[in-house]
Symmetry: C2
Subunit: 287 residues, 2 copies
Protein backbone atom coordinates (compact mmCIF):
# COMPACT_ATOMS: atom_id res chain seq x y z
CA UNK A 1 0.00 0.00 0.00
CA UNK A 2 1.45 3.33 -1.09
CA UNK A 3 0.92 6.57 0.78
CA UNK A 4 0.72 8.53 -2.46
CA UNK A 5 0.49 7.50 -6.08
CA UNK A 6 1.31 10.37 -8.41
CA UNK A 7 -0.11 10.24 -11.92
CA UNK A 8 2.20 12.22 -14.20
CA UNK A 9 5.95 12.85 -14.27
CA UNK A 10 6.06 16.50 -15.29
CA UNK A 11 7.02 19.50 -13.14
CA UNK A 12 3.99 19.27 -10.83
CA UNK A 13 4.27 15.53 -10.25
CA UNK A 14 8.02 15.41 -9.74
CA UNK A 15 8.04 18.53 -7.56
CA UNK A 16 5.45 16.86 -5.33
CA UNK A 17 7.40 13.59 -5.39
CA UNK A 18 10.58 15.29 -4.21
CA UNK A 19 8.81 16.84 -1.24
CA UNK A 20 6.91 13.67 -0.32
CA UNK A 21 10.04 11.52 -0.58
CA UNK A 22 11.83 13.89 1.78
CA UNK A 23 8.86 13.52 4.14
CA UNK A 24 9.68 9.78 4.00
CA UNK A 25 6.36 8.88 2.42
CA UNK A 26 6.02 5.65 0.47
CA UNK A 27 5.30 6.97 -2.99
CA UNK A 28 5.29 5.99 -6.63
CA UNK A 29 5.16 8.10 -9.79
CA UNK A 30 3.47 6.71 -12.90
CA UNK A 31 4.74 8.68 -15.88
CA UNK A 32 3.32 7.86 -19.27
CA UNK A 33 5.71 10.02 -21.26
CA UNK A 34 7.37 13.43 -21.22
CA UNK A 35 4.02 15.17 -21.72
CA UNK A 36 3.55 18.52 -23.37
CA UNK A 37 6.82 19.73 -21.89
CA UNK A 38 8.73 16.99 -23.71
CA UNK A 39 8.14 18.66 -27.05
CA UNK A 40 9.09 22.17 -25.92
CA UNK A 41 12.43 23.09 -27.40
CA UNK A 42 13.37 26.40 -25.85
CA UNK A 43 12.60 27.24 -22.24
CA UNK A 44 14.11 30.46 -20.98
CA UNK A 45 11.57 31.72 -18.49
CA UNK A 46 11.84 29.07 -15.79
CA UNK A 47 13.92 30.56 -13.00
CA UNK A 48 17.41 29.30 -12.31
CA UNK A 49 18.78 28.33 -15.70
CA UNK A 50 21.18 30.79 -17.28
CA UNK A 51 20.83 29.28 -20.74
CA UNK A 52 17.71 28.04 -22.52
CA UNK A 53 16.93 24.39 -21.98
CA UNK A 54 14.69 21.95 -23.79
CA UNK A 55 11.63 20.40 -22.19
CA UNK A 56 13.20 16.97 -22.59
CA UNK A 57 16.29 18.09 -20.67
CA UNK A 58 14.16 19.54 -17.91
CA UNK A 59 11.92 16.48 -17.59
CA UNK A 60 14.95 14.21 -17.48
CA UNK A 61 16.68 16.41 -14.93
CA UNK A 62 13.52 16.17 -12.85
CA UNK A 63 13.50 12.37 -13.09
CA UNK A 64 17.19 12.25 -12.13
CA UNK A 65 16.64 14.65 -9.23
CA UNK A 66 13.77 12.58 -7.86
CA UNK A 67 15.56 9.26 -8.38
CA UNK A 68 18.68 10.56 -6.64
CA UNK A 69 16.44 11.06 -3.58
CA UNK A 70 15.02 7.56 -3.99
CA UNK A 71 11.73 8.25 -5.75
CA UNK A 72 10.30 5.23 -7.56
CA UNK A 73 9.27 6.33 -11.06
CA UNK A 74 7.59 3.98 -13.52
CA UNK A 75 8.23 5.49 -16.93
CA UNK A 76 6.25 4.57 -20.04
CA UNK A 77 3.40 3.27 -17.92
CA UNK A 78 -0.12 4.53 -18.36
CA UNK A 79 -2.85 4.72 -15.74
CA UNK A 80 -6.10 3.34 -17.13
CA UNK A 81 -8.48 3.51 -14.21
CA UNK A 82 -8.72 4.70 -10.63
CA UNK A 83 -11.34 3.18 -8.37
CA UNK A 84 -12.26 3.19 -4.71
CA UNK A 85 -12.09 6.04 -2.29
CA UNK A 86 -9.18 5.60 0.10
CA UNK A 87 -7.60 3.22 -0.44
CA UNK A 88 -7.69 3.78 -4.16
CA UNK A 89 -7.14 0.98 -6.63
CA UNK A 90 -5.14 2.03 -9.67
CA UNK A 91 -4.96 -0.05 -12.80
CA UNK A 92 -2.26 0.65 -15.37
CA UNK A 93 -1.08 -1.09 -18.52
CA UNK A 94 1.69 -2.50 -16.32
CA UNK A 95 0.01 -3.53 -13.09
CA UNK A 96 -2.28 -2.68 -10.21
CA UNK A 97 -1.58 -0.53 -7.18
CA UNK A 98 -3.24 0.27 -3.88
CA UNK A 99 -2.67 3.72 -2.42
CA UNK A 100 -4.04 5.88 0.36
CA UNK A 101 -4.02 9.03 -1.76
CA UNK A 102 -3.72 9.98 -5.41
CA UNK A 103 -2.24 13.14 -6.90
CA UNK A 104 -3.28 13.86 -10.49
CA UNK A 105 -0.69 15.88 -12.42
CA UNK A 106 -1.23 14.83 -16.00
CA UNK A 107 -1.02 18.27 -17.51
CA UNK A 108 -3.52 20.07 -19.61
CA UNK A 109 -6.62 18.14 -20.43
CA UNK A 110 -7.03 17.37 -24.05
CA UNK A 111 -9.36 19.65 -25.98
CA UNK A 112 -12.89 18.53 -26.52
CA UNK A 113 -13.90 16.62 -29.59
CA UNK A 114 -14.17 19.04 -32.48
CA UNK A 115 -17.24 17.56 -34.07
CA UNK A 116 -20.47 19.41 -34.78
CA UNK A 117 -23.04 18.78 -32.05
CA UNK A 118 -20.51 17.75 -29.42
CA UNK A 119 -20.87 20.78 -27.19
CA UNK A 120 -24.65 20.93 -27.20
CA UNK A 121 -25.17 17.20 -26.59
CA UNK A 122 -22.82 16.77 -23.63
CA UNK A 123 -24.76 15.19 -20.81
CA UNK A 124 -27.57 14.46 -23.27
CA UNK A 125 -26.36 11.13 -24.49
CA UNK A 126 -22.70 12.01 -24.64
CA UNK A 127 -20.88 10.69 -21.60
CA UNK A 128 -17.29 10.54 -20.36
CA UNK A 129 -17.80 7.76 -17.84
CA UNK A 130 -19.10 4.25 -18.39
CA UNK A 131 -19.05 3.43 -14.70
CA UNK A 132 -21.10 6.54 -13.98
CA UNK A 133 -23.62 6.45 -16.80
CA UNK A 134 -23.53 2.96 -18.35
CA UNK A 135 -26.48 1.78 -16.29
CA UNK A 136 -28.68 4.48 -17.86
CA UNK A 137 -28.24 2.83 -21.25
CA UNK A 138 -28.90 -0.82 -20.39
CA UNK A 139 -29.52 -2.79 -23.57
CA UNK A 140 -29.49 0.40 -25.61
CA UNK A 141 -27.40 1.22 -28.67
CA UNK A 142 -24.09 2.44 -27.33
CA UNK A 143 -21.14 3.93 -29.20
CA UNK A 144 -17.63 4.19 -27.75
CA UNK A 145 -15.22 6.70 -29.17
CA UNK A 146 -11.55 5.74 -28.95
CA UNK A 147 -8.89 3.47 -30.38
CA UNK A 148 -6.50 2.44 -27.59
CA UNK A 149 -6.20 1.06 -24.07
CA UNK A 150 -8.48 3.69 -22.61
CA UNK A 151 -11.24 2.75 -25.03
CA UNK A 152 -10.71 -0.96 -24.31
CA UNK A 153 -11.05 -0.27 -20.59
CA UNK A 154 -14.30 1.59 -21.18
CA UNK A 155 -15.53 -1.19 -23.46
CA UNK A 156 -15.03 -3.73 -20.67
CA UNK A 157 -17.24 -1.64 -18.43
CA UNK A 158 -19.96 -1.00 -20.99
CA UNK A 159 -20.22 -4.67 -22.03
CA UNK A 160 -21.87 -5.20 -18.66
CA UNK A 161 -24.75 -2.98 -19.68
CA UNK A 162 -25.38 -3.71 -23.34
CA UNK A 163 -24.35 -5.95 -26.15
CA UNK A 164 -25.28 -3.44 -28.79
CA UNK A 165 -21.90 -1.72 -28.87
CA UNK A 166 -20.04 -0.03 -31.70
CA UNK A 167 -16.53 1.35 -31.50
CA UNK A 168 -15.82 4.59 -33.36
CA UNK A 169 -12.10 5.32 -33.77
CA UNK A 170 -12.75 8.71 -35.42
CA UNK A 171 -9.97 8.20 -37.97
CA UNK A 172 -7.42 6.68 -35.59
CA UNK A 173 -6.09 3.20 -36.20
CA UNK A 174 -7.23 0.65 -33.68
CA UNK A 175 -4.49 -0.63 -31.35
CA UNK A 176 -6.50 -3.02 -29.17
CA UNK A 177 -9.01 -5.83 -29.49
CA UNK A 178 -12.71 -4.96 -29.50
CA UNK A 179 -13.81 -8.59 -29.04
CA UNK A 180 -16.80 -9.23 -31.25
CA UNK A 181 -17.95 -5.63 -31.47
CA UNK A 182 -18.09 -3.73 -34.76
CA UNK A 183 -15.62 -0.95 -35.46
CA UNK A 184 -16.11 2.19 -37.51
CA UNK A 185 -12.84 3.88 -38.41
CA UNK A 186 -14.17 6.75 -40.52
CA UNK A 187 -13.97 10.15 -38.87
CA UNK A 188 -17.18 11.49 -37.38
CA UNK A 189 -18.54 14.60 -39.05
CA UNK A 190 -21.58 15.25 -36.87
CA UNK A 191 -23.31 14.13 -33.71
CA UNK A 192 -27.05 14.04 -34.29
CA UNK A 193 -29.93 14.91 -32.01
CA UNK A 194 -31.74 17.91 -30.59
CA UNK A 195 -32.84 17.20 -27.02
CA UNK A 196 -30.62 14.17 -26.80
CA UNK A 197 -28.24 12.16 -28.96
CA UNK A 198 -29.93 10.08 -31.63
CA UNK A 199 -26.92 9.03 -33.68
CA UNK A 200 -23.59 9.93 -35.26
CA UNK A 201 -22.67 10.63 -38.85
CA UNK A 202 -19.56 9.85 -40.86
CA UNK A 203 -18.97 11.13 -44.37
CA UNK A 204 -20.47 7.89 -45.70
CA UNK A 205 -23.16 6.84 -43.26
CA UNK A 206 -25.39 7.56 -40.30
CA UNK A 207 -25.42 5.31 -37.20
CA UNK A 208 -28.33 5.32 -34.73
CA UNK A 209 -27.17 5.55 -31.12
CA UNK A 210 -28.70 6.19 -27.72
CA UNK A 211 -25.38 7.13 -26.15
CA UNK A 212 -21.80 7.85 -27.12
CA UNK A 213 -19.06 7.31 -24.53
CA UNK A 214 -15.87 9.28 -25.10
CA UNK A 215 -12.64 7.39 -24.33
CA UNK A 216 -10.27 8.76 -26.94
CA UNK A 217 -6.52 8.98 -26.52
CA UNK A 218 -5.15 8.68 -23.02
CA UNK A 219 -7.38 9.40 -20.06
CA UNK A 220 -6.62 12.86 -18.78
CA UNK A 221 -6.71 13.93 -15.18
CA UNK A 222 -10.19 15.29 -15.67
CA UNK A 223 -11.35 11.96 -17.11
CA UNK A 224 -10.26 10.24 -13.90
CA UNK A 225 -11.74 13.02 -11.81
CA UNK A 226 -15.13 12.87 -13.49
CA UNK A 227 -15.26 9.08 -13.13
CA UNK A 228 -14.57 9.38 -9.43
CA UNK A 229 -17.20 12.05 -8.90
CA UNK A 230 -14.80 14.95 -8.53
CA UNK A 231 -15.89 18.35 -9.73
CA UNK A 232 -14.60 19.61 -13.06
CA UNK A 233 -15.41 23.07 -14.36
CA UNK A 234 -16.71 24.12 -17.76
CA UNK A 235 -13.18 24.41 -19.12
CA UNK A 236 -12.62 20.78 -18.13
CA UNK A 237 -10.27 21.84 -15.31
CA UNK A 238 -10.36 19.90 -12.05
CA UNK A 239 -11.69 21.98 -9.19
CA UNK A 240 -9.50 21.96 -6.11
CA UNK A 241 -9.53 23.82 -2.82
CA UNK A 242 -6.55 25.84 -1.53
CA UNK A 243 -5.01 22.54 -0.37
CA UNK A 244 -5.17 21.15 -3.91
CA UNK A 245 -7.76 18.63 -2.74
CA UNK A 246 -10.69 17.74 -4.94
CA UNK A 247 -14.07 17.15 -3.32
CA UNK A 248 -13.07 13.45 -2.97
CA UNK A 249 -11.07 12.87 0.23
CA UNK A 250 -7.58 11.69 -0.68
CA UNK A 251 -7.78 12.73 -4.33
CA UNK A 252 -5.58 15.71 -5.16
CA UNK A 253 -4.71 17.51 -8.37
CA UNK A 254 -1.98 20.00 -9.29
CA UNK A 255 -0.42 21.70 -12.30
CA UNK A 256 -2.00 22.46 -15.63
CA UNK A 257 -4.94 20.08 -15.07
CA UNK A 258 -6.40 22.46 -12.48
CA UNK A 259 -6.11 25.46 -14.78
CA UNK A 260 -4.65 28.86 -13.99
CA UNK A 261 -1.31 29.92 -15.44
CA UNK A 262 -0.05 27.13 -17.69
CA UNK A 263 3.63 27.60 -16.87
CA UNK A 264 6.32 25.36 -15.43
CA UNK A 265 6.83 27.58 -12.40
CA UNK A 266 3.19 27.41 -11.41
CA UNK A 267 3.10 23.62 -11.83
CA UNK A 268 6.24 23.23 -9.69
CA UNK A 269 4.76 25.43 -6.99
CA UNK A 270 1.43 23.58 -7.13
CA UNK A 271 3.25 20.29 -6.71
CA UNK A 272 5.17 21.48 -3.67
CA UNK A 273 2.06 22.87 -2.04
CA UNK A 274 -0.01 19.77 -2.81
CA UNK A 275 2.74 17.61 -1.29
CA UNK A 276 2.58 19.53 1.97
CA UNK A 277 -1.19 19.26 2.07
CA UNK A 278 -1.12 15.52 1.30
CA UNK A 279 1.50 14.94 3.96
CA UNK A 280 -0.72 16.69 6.46
CA UNK A 281 -3.76 14.70 5.32
CA UNK A 282 -1.88 11.40 5.68
CA UNK A 283 -1.21 12.23 9.30
CA UNK A 284 -4.94 12.54 9.93
CA UNK A 285 -5.83 9.17 8.38
CA UNK A 286 -2.99 7.14 9.85
CA UNK A 287 -3.25 8.34 13.41
CA UNK B 1 10.29 56.42 -16.63
CA UNK B 2 10.31 52.69 -16.09
CA UNK B 3 7.30 50.47 -16.64
CA UNK B 4 8.19 48.32 -13.65
CA UNK B 5 10.71 48.67 -10.88
CA UNK B 6 11.29 45.41 -9.06
CA UNK B 7 12.57 45.59 -5.50
CA UNK B 8 14.47 42.39 -4.77
CA UNK B 9 16.60 40.04 -6.87
CA UNK B 10 15.55 36.67 -5.50
CA UNK B 11 13.45 34.00 -7.21
CA UNK B 12 10.22 36.04 -7.22
CA UNK B 13 11.84 39.23 -8.50
CA UNK B 14 13.97 37.63 -11.19
CA UNK B 15 11.18 35.33 -12.34
CA UNK B 16 8.98 38.39 -12.81
CA UNK B 17 11.82 40.27 -14.51
CA UNK B 18 12.33 37.49 -17.05
CA UNK B 19 8.67 37.52 -18.02
CA UNK B 20 8.41 41.31 -18.15
CA UNK B 21 11.58 41.63 -20.21
CA UNK B 22 10.18 39.14 -22.69
CA UNK B 23 7.05 41.29 -22.82
CA UNK B 24 9.43 44.10 -23.86
CA UNK B 25 8.69 46.18 -20.80
CA UNK B 26 11.18 48.79 -19.65
CA UNK B 27 12.18 47.39 -16.28
CA UNK B 28 14.85 47.60 -13.62
CA UNK B 29 15.67 45.30 -10.71
CA UNK B 30 17.12 46.76 -7.52
CA UNK B 31 18.81 43.92 -5.60
CA UNK B 32 20.34 44.73 -2.27
CA UNK B 33 22.04 41.37 -1.78
CA UNK B 34 21.45 37.65 -2.21
CA UNK B 35 18.79 37.67 0.51
CA UNK B 36 17.87 34.71 2.68
CA UNK B 37 18.49 32.37 -0.24
CA UNK B 38 22.11 33.49 -0.46
CA UNK B 39 22.95 31.75 2.80
CA UNK B 40 21.21 28.47 1.95
CA UNK B 41 23.80 25.81 1.24
CA UNK B 42 21.86 22.80 0.07
CA UNK B 43 18.78 23.06 -2.13
CA UNK B 44 17.44 19.80 -3.47
CA UNK B 45 13.72 20.38 -3.64
CA UNK B 46 13.53 23.00 -6.37
CA UNK B 47 12.47 21.22 -9.54
CA UNK B 48 14.89 20.76 -12.40
CA UNK B 49 18.29 20.33 -10.77
CA UNK B 50 19.59 16.80 -10.55
CA UNK B 51 22.15 17.65 -7.88
CA UNK B 52 21.84 19.91 -4.85
CA UNK B 53 22.77 23.52 -5.46
CA UNK B 54 23.60 26.37 -3.12
CA UNK B 55 21.42 29.43 -2.79
CA UNK B 56 24.29 31.57 -4.03
CA UNK B 57 24.57 29.47 -7.20
CA UNK B 58 20.84 29.72 -7.79
CA UNK B 59 20.70 33.48 -7.22
CA UNK B 60 23.65 34.01 -9.55
CA UNK B 61 22.17 31.72 -12.20
CA UNK B 62 19.01 33.81 -11.94
CA UNK B 63 20.95 37.05 -12.42
CA UNK B 64 22.77 35.56 -15.41
CA UNK B 65 19.54 34.26 -16.90
CA UNK B 66 17.87 37.66 -16.60
CA UNK B 67 20.89 39.57 -17.88
CA UNK B 68 21.23 37.27 -20.87
CA UNK B 69 17.72 38.45 -21.81
CA UNK B 70 18.73 42.07 -21.28
CA UNK B 71 17.35 42.74 -17.80
CA UNK B 72 18.95 45.71 -16.06
CA UNK B 73 19.90 44.64 -12.51
CA UNK B 74 21.43 47.03 -10.00
CA UNK B 75 23.17 44.83 -7.47
CA UNK B 76 24.21 46.03 -4.02
CA UNK B 77 21.74 48.87 -4.19
CA UNK B 78 19.15 49.39 -1.49
CA UNK B 79 15.74 50.97 -1.85
CA UNK B 80 15.14 53.46 0.95
CA UNK B 81 11.78 54.95 0.12
CA UNK B 82 8.91 54.68 -2.30
CA UNK B 83 6.57 57.61 -2.74
CA UNK B 84 3.77 58.69 -5.01
CA UNK B 85 1.06 56.58 -6.52
CA UNK B 86 1.69 55.99 -10.19
CA UNK B 87 4.17 57.21 -11.15
CA UNK B 88 6.10 56.12 -8.11
CA UNK B 89 9.28 57.83 -7.02
CA UNK B 90 11.90 55.44 -5.67
CA UNK B 91 14.89 56.61 -3.71
CA UNK B 92 17.84 54.27 -3.22
CA UNK B 93 21.31 54.68 -1.79
CA UNK B 94 22.42 54.94 -5.42
CA UNK B 95 19.90 57.18 -7.10
CA UNK B 96 16.29 58.04 -7.80
CA UNK B 97 13.89 56.38 -10.21
CA UNK B 98 10.45 57.06 -11.63
CA UNK B 99 8.30 54.09 -12.50
CA UNK B 100 4.71 53.37 -13.46
CA UNK B 101 4.49 50.27 -11.27
CA UNK B 102 6.44 48.68 -8.42
CA UNK B 103 6.79 45.00 -7.60
CA UNK B 104 7.94 44.23 -4.05
CA UNK B 105 9.80 40.92 -3.78
CA UNK B 106 12.11 41.47 -0.85
CA UNK B 107 11.51 38.13 0.81
CA UNK B 108 10.34 37.42 4.28
CA UNK B 109 9.80 40.41 6.44
CA UNK B 110 12.10 40.63 9.36
CA UNK B 111 10.69 39.45 12.67
CA UNK B 112 9.25 41.99 14.99
CA UNK B 113 11.33 43.64 17.65
CA UNK B 114 11.77 41.20 20.51
CA UNK B 115 11.37 43.66 23.31
CA UNK B 116 8.82 43.45 26.09
CA UNK B 117 5.79 45.64 25.37
CA UNK B 118 6.36 45.77 21.62
CA UNK B 119 3.39 43.69 20.61
CA UNK B 120 0.85 45.34 22.88
CA UNK B 121 1.89 48.91 22.08
CA UNK B 122 1.87 48.65 18.29
CA UNK B 123 -0.34 51.39 16.94
CA UNK B 124 -0.38 52.95 20.40
CA UNK B 125 2.69 55.10 20.07
CA UNK B 126 4.76 52.58 18.15
CA UNK B 127 4.76 53.37 14.46
CA UNK B 128 6.43 52.01 11.34
CA UNK B 129 5.89 55.06 9.20
CA UNK B 130 7.01 58.64 9.78
CA UNK B 131 5.22 59.91 6.73
CA UNK B 132 1.98 58.30 7.91
CA UNK B 133 2.06 59.11 11.59
CA UNK B 134 4.67 61.83 12.14
CA UNK B 135 2.08 64.57 12.04
CA UNK B 136 0.30 63.01 15.06
CA UNK B 137 3.38 63.69 17.17
CA UNK B 138 4.11 67.30 16.22
CA UNK B 139 6.52 68.80 18.76
CA UNK B 140 6.30 65.67 20.90
CA UNK B 141 9.11 63.49 22.23
CA UNK B 142 9.92 61.09 19.40
CA UNK B 143 12.25 58.10 19.40
CA UNK B 144 13.56 56.49 16.22
CA UNK B 145 14.82 52.95 16.37
CA UNK B 146 17.53 52.07 13.84
CA UNK B 147 21.18 52.54 12.98
CA UNK B 148 21.54 52.78 9.19
CA UNK B 149 20.28 54.39 6.02
CA UNK B 150 16.70 53.42 6.69
CA UNK B 151 16.77 55.15 10.07
CA UNK B 152 18.43 58.23 8.53
CA UNK B 153 15.68 58.40 5.93
CA UNK B 154 13.03 58.23 8.66
CA UNK B 155 14.90 60.84 10.68
CA UNK B 156 14.73 63.25 7.74
CA UNK B 157 10.97 62.85 7.66
CA UNK B 158 10.43 63.17 11.41
CA UNK B 159 12.59 66.30 11.71
CA UNK B 160 9.74 68.09 9.95
CA UNK B 161 7.44 67.35 12.86
CA UNK B 162 9.55 67.69 15.97
CA UNK B 163 12.95 68.72 17.19
CA UNK B 164 12.75 66.52 20.25
CA UNK B 165 14.20 63.44 18.58
CA UNK B 166 16.32 60.63 20.02
CA UNK B 167 17.87 57.83 18.02
CA UNK B 168 17.93 54.36 19.63
CA UNK B 169 20.26 51.93 17.88
CA UNK B 170 19.24 49.03 20.14
CA UNK B 171 22.82 47.76 20.41
CA UNK B 172 23.77 48.27 16.77
CA UNK B 173 26.62 50.54 15.85
CA UNK B 174 25.55 53.69 14.09
CA UNK B 175 26.55 53.89 10.42
CA UNK B 176 25.03 57.24 9.48
CA UNK B 177 24.90 60.82 10.74
CA UNK B 178 22.10 61.80 13.10
CA UNK B 179 22.79 65.53 12.75
CA UNK B 180 22.42 67.17 16.12
CA UNK B 181 20.14 64.53 17.64
CA UNK B 182 21.14 62.43 20.64
CA UNK B 183 21.88 58.75 20.18
CA UNK B 184 21.32 55.91 22.65
CA UNK B 185 23.21 52.77 21.70
CA UNK B 186 22.26 50.56 24.67
CA UNK B 187 19.81 47.79 23.83
CA UNK B 188 16.20 48.38 24.79
CA UNK B 189 14.86 46.06 27.47
CA UNK B 190 11.28 47.26 27.67
CA UNK B 191 8.78 49.56 26.02
CA UNK B 192 6.72 51.31 28.66
CA UNK B 193 3.07 52.26 28.75
CA UNK B 194 -0.35 50.74 29.21
CA UNK B 195 -2.86 52.45 26.93
CA UNK B 196 -0.12 54.08 24.93
CA UNK B 197 3.66 54.36 24.88
CA UNK B 198 5.12 56.53 27.62
CA UNK B 199 8.78 55.68 27.24
CA UNK B 200 11.48 53.10 26.67
CA UNK B 201 13.89 51.46 29.06
CA UNK B 202 17.49 50.35 28.65
CA UNK B 203 19.40 48.41 31.30
CA UNK B 204 20.69 51.71 32.66
CA UNK B 205 18.00 54.27 32.17
CA UNK B 206 14.42 55.18 31.28
CA UNK B 207 13.60 57.64 28.48
CA UNK B 208 10.24 59.40 28.27
CA UNK B 209 8.73 59.22 24.79
CA UNK B 210 5.39 59.95 23.12
CA UNK B 211 6.18 57.83 20.10
CA UNK B 212 8.76 55.35 18.86
CA UNK B 213 9.26 54.96 15.11
CA UNK B 214 10.78 51.66 13.99
CA UNK B 215 13.30 51.91 11.15
CA UNK B 216 15.77 49.18 12.03
CA UNK B 217 17.83 47.26 9.50
CA UNK B 218 16.77 47.45 5.90
CA UNK B 219 13.23 48.36 5.05
CA UNK B 220 11.30 45.23 4.22
CA UNK B 221 8.55 44.98 1.67
CA UNK B 222 5.97 45.38 4.38
CA UNK B 223 7.69 48.55 5.60
CA UNK B 224 7.26 50.05 2.14
CA UNK B 225 3.74 48.71 1.90
CA UNK B 226 2.66 50.18 5.22
CA UNK B 227 4.16 53.56 4.36
CA UNK B 228 2.22 53.62 1.12
CA UNK B 229 -1.06 52.70 2.75
CA UNK B 230 -1.12 49.10 1.54
CA UNK B 231 -2.72 46.48 3.75
CA UNK B 232 -0.49 44.22 5.79
CA UNK B 233 -1.88 41.39 7.89
CA UNK B 234 -1.15 40.53 11.52
CA UNK B 235 1.80 38.37 10.48
CA UNK B 236 3.29 41.39 8.73
CA UNK B 237 2.59 39.85 5.31
CA UNK B 238 1.47 42.13 2.49
CA UNK B 239 -2.10 41.47 1.43
CA UNK B 240 -2.55 40.99 -2.29
CA UNK B 241 -5.44 39.98 -4.51
CA UNK B 242 -5.28 37.03 -6.94
CA UNK B 243 -3.42 39.34 -9.36
CA UNK B 244 -0.71 40.01 -6.75
CA UNK B 245 -1.87 43.60 -6.55
CA UNK B 246 -1.98 45.40 -3.23
CA UNK B 247 -4.84 47.77 -2.55
CA UNK B 248 -2.67 50.55 -4.08
CA UNK B 249 -3.05 50.66 -7.87
CA UNK B 250 0.29 49.84 -9.49
CA UNK B 251 1.87 48.43 -6.32
CA UNK B 252 2.37 44.67 -6.50
CA UNK B 253 4.01 42.13 -4.20
CA UNK B 254 5.12 38.53 -4.69
CA UNK B 255 7.12 35.80 -3.00
CA UNK B 256 7.76 35.31 0.69
CA UNK B 257 6.69 38.85 1.61
CA UNK B 258 3.06 37.98 0.89
CA UNK B 259 3.18 34.85 3.05
CA UNK B 260 2.04 31.37 2.13
CA UNK B 261 4.53 28.61 1.44
CA UNK B 262 8.04 30.00 1.94
CA UNK B 263 9.64 27.99 -0.83
CA UNK B 264 11.57 28.89 -3.98
CA UNK B 265 9.00 27.26 -6.24
CA UNK B 266 6.17 29.32 -4.85
CA UNK B 267 8.19 32.54 -5.14
CA UNK B 268 9.07 31.76 -8.76
CA UNK B 269 5.44 31.05 -9.57
CA UNK B 270 4.28 34.20 -7.80
CA UNK B 271 6.77 36.24 -9.80
CA UNK B 272 5.59 34.83 -13.12
CA UNK B 273 1.95 35.41 -12.26
CA UNK B 274 2.59 38.92 -10.96
CA UNK B 275 4.45 39.73 -14.18
CA UNK B 276 1.47 38.71 -16.28
CA UNK B 277 -0.87 40.78 -14.13
CA UNK B 278 1.42 43.82 -14.23
CA UNK B 279 1.77 43.55 -17.99
CA UNK B 280 -2.01 43.54 -18.30
CA UNK B 281 -2.31 46.49 -15.90
CA UNK B 282 0.25 48.51 -17.90
CA UNK B 283 -1.91 48.12 -20.99
CA UNK B 284 -4.82 49.73 -19.18
CA UNK B 285 -2.87 52.76 -18.01
CA UNK B 286 -0.97 53.44 -21.22
CA UNK B 287 -3.86 53.17 -23.61
Amino acid sequence: MYDVLIVGGGPAGISAAVYLQRFKRNIIVIAKDHGALGSTTHIENYYGFENPITGKELVEAGFAQARRLGVNIHENEEVLSINGSGPFNIKTNGGEYLTKTVLLTTGMNRPNLRVKGFTTLQGKGISFCGICDGFLYRNKKIGILGAGDFMAEELEVLRNFSNNLTVFTNGESLSVSTHEYPVVTEPLVELLGVDSLTGVKTQAKTYDLDALFIAAGTPSASDFAVRMGAFVNQKNEIEVDPNFSTNIAGLYAAGDCIGGLLQISKAVSDGAQAALAINKYLKTITS
